[in-house]
Symmetry: C2
Subunit: 218 residues, 2 copies
DNA sequence: TAGATTGTTAATCGATTAACAATC
DNA sequence: TAGATTGTTAATCGATTAACAATC
């Protein structure tokens, strides 16, 4: 039985995967932990520790095979899986999500899209017809749905979650500000909080500005 | 001179801010570190340590004033500032960003939007006219621009960054996969990697699935 | 074999948690 | 005053880094 891997390590896996994909695309065949570390802005020690959570993928003296390591990390992440998912909300954000992402290469398949606004219902997104949101219940109870992706304003989310949870959905990709995992503790939720990210940027900009001022006027 | 605050603490500040805003909207006037901790899924110790990085905002025996603390954190984050920003890319993602976010409450002001696709140039977004991307250079050199927000596909990003950097822009909100801070180390970059988030969700879903299987078939 | 680089154990560092005196 | 809760110091825990034997 494998030990639990810390969330810090997990969150680095997609970055390893991306950088390895790039190296592979550039025809690089072997990579050392030192080189990978410099790409990741990390230490070689960390790279080796991270990878050895999952197995010994390298060869002493030679380093790691780029294509092998990329494939291994893809397997660890489960990118070949097909988690069936539905998207709630076909506004600008929902459309951005639906059109931007290669779900099939990320372990998911987007099967259906639901939207409240009648003007958007019936339009097509990536070959998927946008359905009216009063068909959610019927759809979820007649299809295999693993994951719900929420791209709608906060106020409409809570009631929707209640319904989705009751219908058995436990995995959420959440762009709203509603705190799903506090209400339903047995869910898996990945939050994307765009405004948190902007606020952090704001802080960091100011932090530097202040440190520059302090250094010039000491 | 104040000590440097760790990035972990910084990234919690927007969450404190959000939850305090909610409490305030619900008419709550006082809050203890214990209650705040339960909302944040943290310990009371952590809450007090976090806040005391910036000052003693509480009163022994009483707790924290919700509105005061919210205002203080807003000030720490710098949400009353007006960092002038431009958005590059008016596709679905760019439009989602432009329309979803209250820049004015997050320390920013969106002044201009640029787009390569001629079909989108000239359309309006939040009252801002979308300009053709060959006007970027002229605009940035004649206006005060603090921050660039990048909502375009990776391949077009590197050349664009080179130009923006040369024009003096050092702060970036980056949705692309191009690693800005590796090439330009004196930049401040907040990355939003949607596909990383999805991959992490994929891992976590599989992780649970496996642990359930192990527990039922030991 | 010599050089390079891994896998892994040990040391260090920093973040989180606990404890408690100060004080409202 | 007694009860509650902060601010802050000390203890713990876990993640990162360093070191080095194993080995390609």
């Amino acid at each position: 039985m494998s030990k639990v891997v810390s969330i810090q390590v997990i969150r680095r896996l997609p970055r390893y995967y991306r950088f390895l994909s790039e190296l592979e695309a550039n025809g690089v065949e072997q990579v050392s932990s030192t080189r990978l570390a410099s790409i990741m802005s990390a230490t070689a020690s960390q790279v080796r520790q991270d990878l050895n959570c999952f197995g010994g993928f390298g060869r002493q003296g030679c380093g790691y095979s780029v294509s092998e390591l990329r494939a291994e990390i893809g397997k660890i992440l489960g990118l070949d899986d097909t988690h069936h998912s539905i998207l709630l909300g076909a506004g600008n954000l929902g459309r951005a999500i639906a059109t931007h992402l290669n779900f099939e290469h990320l372990g998911f398949k987007l099967d259906a899209i639901f939207e409240k606004d009648h003007k958007l219902v019936g339009t097509m997104l990536r070959g998927i017809k946008v359905l009216p949101d009063d068909e959610i219940e019927n759809y979820v109870s007649t299809h295999n749905v693993d994951t719900a992706m929420l791209a709608l304003p906060k106020d409409s989310v809570e009631a929707l979650i209640d319904k989705l949870y009751e219908l058995g959905i436990r995995n959420y990709w959440n762009f709203s500000h509603f705190d799903i995992s506090r209400k339903y503790v047995d869910t898996i939720v990945e939050n994307v909080h765009l405004s948190d990210s902007l606020m952090t940027l704001c802080y960091r900009i100011n932090e530097r500005k202040q440190s520059l001022e302090t250094h010039t006027n000491p």
